[in-house]
């Protein structure tokens, strides 16, 4: 080859072709999407995330959650994504998702954390998998109060440490806490599950308290014989001495993870943000451009704010 000019033009041209083709043109097509709304201008989806959840996404990105957890549901014709159910939760277990993901689901995300690998389950809809927050403080203690005694009877030594503060703190907790966290139900871990551990001491699956405990000690709540390979994020939590009353958001831990008596493990602000973010992940709202697998699936149709049917099975089972 002779002469720099054809070489230079070719180098420039091929690359410009790819740049325009893969970034500029798609950006014209899907780079300025608006939220979807119905005729009255209500029922807007997606909505920007709250401050805490938005900060939580930064924590999520900074700590590399993205390398194991994807946030994209592929179409059902070739992949099992929409048929898959989560490993934990009351039966019938929550599905991974109701429909495939679409560009519009992500318009407020920055950074967008689609992910590239699944050493852990997909999280695109993880917020939807949890029990409904409004129902939880009232329902959980009632449902689980009797379950408390068999647990302590079954393993008295393990519960000696953690059971003590819980016993002292639990009777007043529902009354005080039901009012306090109401305004930030999604953002803060609901104290109710901490006051009422279910038989194995695990909060209701995919609730805020569950996420906190899962982040703090993933292997303490492995379901199958196989241990989770998720690293513990203990550095997002702080160990405090209990002064007077136990903190409302202290983690309910047992066994090896339990702090010594008189101490408690509480989430840092970062951890609360991260959990708020996880709880906010919800792509269940139908989108016009995406067909759900079986037409308009009933569970997907219910907007996340007022789910009429979904809370009922959750508390009754656990």
């Amino acid at each position: 080859m002779k002469g720099l000019v054809p070489l230079f033009l070719g180098v420039f041209g091929t690359f410009a072709f790819s740049w325009v083709g893969l970034t500029v043109i798609p950006n014209l097509q899907i780079g300025a999407l608006n939220p979807q709304m119905d005729e009255e201008g209500t029922d807007i989806y997606p909505a920007p995330k709250s401050g805490m959840a938005d900060r939580g996404r930064r924590i999520y990105a900074a700590n590399g959650c993205i390398y194991c957890h994807s946030q994209q549901i592929r179409p059902g014709y070739a992949y099992a994504d929409v048929d898959r159910v989560r490993d934990a939760g009351p039966s019938p277990r929550p599905k991974w998702a109701e429909r495939r993901s679409a560009p519009r689901d992500y318009i407020f995300d920055r950074p967008v954390v689609l992910g590239q690998e699944r050493m852990g389950p997909d999280l695109a809809d993880i917020g939807k998998a949890g029990p409904t927050e409004e129902e939880k403080p009232a329902a959980a203690p009632a449902a689980n109060a009797p379950a408390n005694s068999p647990a302590t009877a079954q393993s008295p030594p393990a519960n000696a440490g953690s059971g003590k503060p819980a016993a002292g703190g639990s009777p007043p907790a529902p009354a005080t806490s039901a009012a306090a966290p109401a305004q930030s139900a999604a953002a803060n871990p609901s104290p109710a599950p901490s006051a009422s551990p279910s038989p194995n001491g695990v909060p209701p699956a995919y609730s805020a308290a569950w996420h906190h405990r899962h982040l703090y000690s993933p292997r303490s709540m492995s379901l199958d014989s196989v241990d989770s390979t998720m690293p513990a994020y203990k550095f997002l939590y702080e160990k405090h001495q209990i002064n007077g009353e136990r903190s409302a958001d202290a983690l309910e831990l047992s066994g090896r993870d339990a702090p010594p008596p008189g101490w408690e493990i509480v989430p840092t602000y970062d951890a609360s943000c991260l959990v708020a973010y996880l709880m906010s992940l919800d792509q269940s709202h139908p989108l016009k451009e995406v067909k759900t697998a079986e037409g308009a699936a009933p569970p997907a149709a219910s907007p996340p704010a007022q789910p009429a049917g979904s809370p009922a099975p959750a508390p009754s089972k656990k």
Partner: protein
């Protein structure tokens, strides 16, 4: 395995006594690149060792997650991007720039001007990588694959790059002879593509961020192009220089090389979206990338054929020349890498391989089996010409080669098979998700063994390189051969 008498084991030897004017000129050109290229290599080696240790740590933590997990900057999710970025920007880019500058000076037949500015650029680049690494460890990772460095580190890298590469490109102005060799096409392409690529990605992600999923599209467009058009292009250019040079025979076909280069530039730059098969994007984007990935078979075939025909009859030389052995291994891996790339992007196989460890295998085949092996080969060729000494121990070179070759082979195999096992379970909704993780775990442990092999290999190489750097190499006019050259061979280079 006796070499035939016509195998030219004579590599161009630089000695002051050489009366040949061309040899003297080469020695002068080499001398002008001495300080910057050695600095590039030394920095790259340090980053390689750091990245290797991190790799072992990351690999081990993936199946034993409780190891050092309570310290924020040692958590897996921060160490993994650090490993990744140290390897890409610390080791790979610096080794690539070192080799590229040396090749450019040789091929333009001109001395390198302003080496001190390049040295300043190297310092800046090192500082940029260091800032980026600290940023990620402190928890300021941006969350975009391959672009985790905080934007302020990218600014430093950019300044460094401008300092380094403007002089490399300017060498073209002073070149002698009007034939532009194949290697120079690739190098010039890489020099111009990288800044555009890096600037475009930074601008579209951080300065004027694009909306939603477009960030992921830009991110993977960047990542694949960095792999192909920056590192891959330099590695291919290097192979086009080293293979004919060592065996002393011209490239088989210039026409094939031309086709290979332009199809490479055209198709591999479109492959980015194959990392997002059936993700939330317009289907045409992904289909275009899958098609481009399939079409990369054209450059692979032409480049592979060209190298093969050049090597025809000279394969036994690999028994002796370290450079050739590493380079040919790398060139062959380029074919394997591309075929695996096609496999993981086809929709029918993506069912089983997407979202699994197979994508890690793909990245390592590209970055290690192909790129890094070619770079090792070029370093075995270039370093003796810069320090005026020959490599001290043939045994160490052999150990380095076999540990690297077996290491990366084992790693790719483990990740591909493990990825397939993992993906098959993931795509079967009757199995719980954790079972897919469990099915990959034995392979991940196997990968840790591979990481151990690679660690050994890199420390051996670093030690050997250190000897050379401190002038402890052999003083000889004969290059170090991997195996003693038998009677016929030694006649050839006497």
């Amino acid at each position: 395995m006796t070499p035939t008498a016509d195998i030219p084991l004579k590599e161009p030897v630089i000695s002051a006594a050489a009366s040949d004017a061309e040899q003297l000129e080469r020695a002068r050109i080499d001398a002008s690149t001495r300080v910057p290229v050695l600095m590039f290599y030394a920095s790259a080696m340090v980053w390689l060792l750091i990245g290797t240790l991190l790799a072992g740590f990351v690999s081990f933590k993936l199946h034993s997650p409780d190891w050092f997990s309570d310290v924020s900057f040692l958590t897996w999710g921060r160490l993994r991007p650090v490993h990744m970025n140290v390897m890409v920007y610390g080791w790979a880019s610096m080794a690539a720039m070192g080799t590229a500058i040396w090749l450019m000076a040789r091929l333009c037949r001109t001395t390198l001007r302003h080496p001190l500015l390049i040295v300043a650029g190297i310092w800046f680049w090192n500082i940029g990588v260091l800032i980026g690494v600290i940023g990620i460890l402190m928890g300021y990772s941006t969350g975009y694959d391959w672009l985790e460095f905080p934007p302020y580190a990218a600014v430093v890298l950019f300044v460094a790059y401008a300092l380094i590469m403007s002089w490399a490109v300017l060498m073209f102005r002073f070149r002698r002879g009007d034939q532009i060799y194949i290697t120079q096409w690739y190098l010039l392409g890489a020099f111009l593509w990288f800044p555009w690529l890096y600037a475009a990605a930074q601008a579209m992600l951080f300065v004027v961020p694009v909306q939603g999923v477009m960030q992921a599209a830009v991110g993977w467009w960047y990542a694949n192009n960095l792999l192909f058009l920056w590192l891959g292009a330099i590695a291919l250019g290097t192979a086009y220089y080293m293979i004919p040079k060592v065996i002393g025979r011209p490239v088989y076909s210039y026409h094939l090389a031309t086709i290979g280069f332009w199809t490479y530039a055209l198709f591999s730059s479109w492959t980015g979206m194959q990392r997002l098969v059936d993700g939330p994007f317009p289907a045409w984007m992904i289909t275009a990338s899958i098609a481009a990935t399939i079409l990369t078979i054209i450059p692979v075939a032409t480049v592979g054929l060209n190298h093969h025909m050049t090597m025809q009859g000279y394969f036994p030389v690999m028994r002796y020349s370290p450079t050739l052995r590493f380079t040919v291994f790398g060139a062959m891996s380029y074919t394997v890498f591309s075929i695996i790339g096609i496999l993981i992007s086809l929709r029918s196989t993506a069912r089983y391989l997407h979202f699994t460890e197979a994508s890690i295998a793909y990245s390592h085949l590209g970055l290690y089996a192909f790129f890094t092996m070619v770079m090792f080969g070029s370093m075995y060729y270039i370093v003796p010409r810069l320090v005026g000494r020959e490599w001290r121990y043939a045994t160490l070179i052999k150990l380095h080669f076999w540990a690297s070759a077996y290491g990366v082979g084992l790693m790719s195999l483990m990740l591909l098979v493990g990825g397939f096992a993992q993906g098959a379970t993931q795509n079967d909704p009757s199995m719980s998700f954790i079972q897919s993780v469990a099915s990959a775990l034995p392979y991940l442990r196997g990968r840790t063994v591979a990481a151990l092999l690679l660690t050994i290999s890199h420390f051996i190489f670093a030690f050997h390189f250190g000897l050379m750097l401190f002038g402890l190499g052999r003083t000889s006019t004969v290059p170090t051969f991997l195996n003693p050259v038998e009677a016929e061979g030694s006649e050839a280079h006497s």
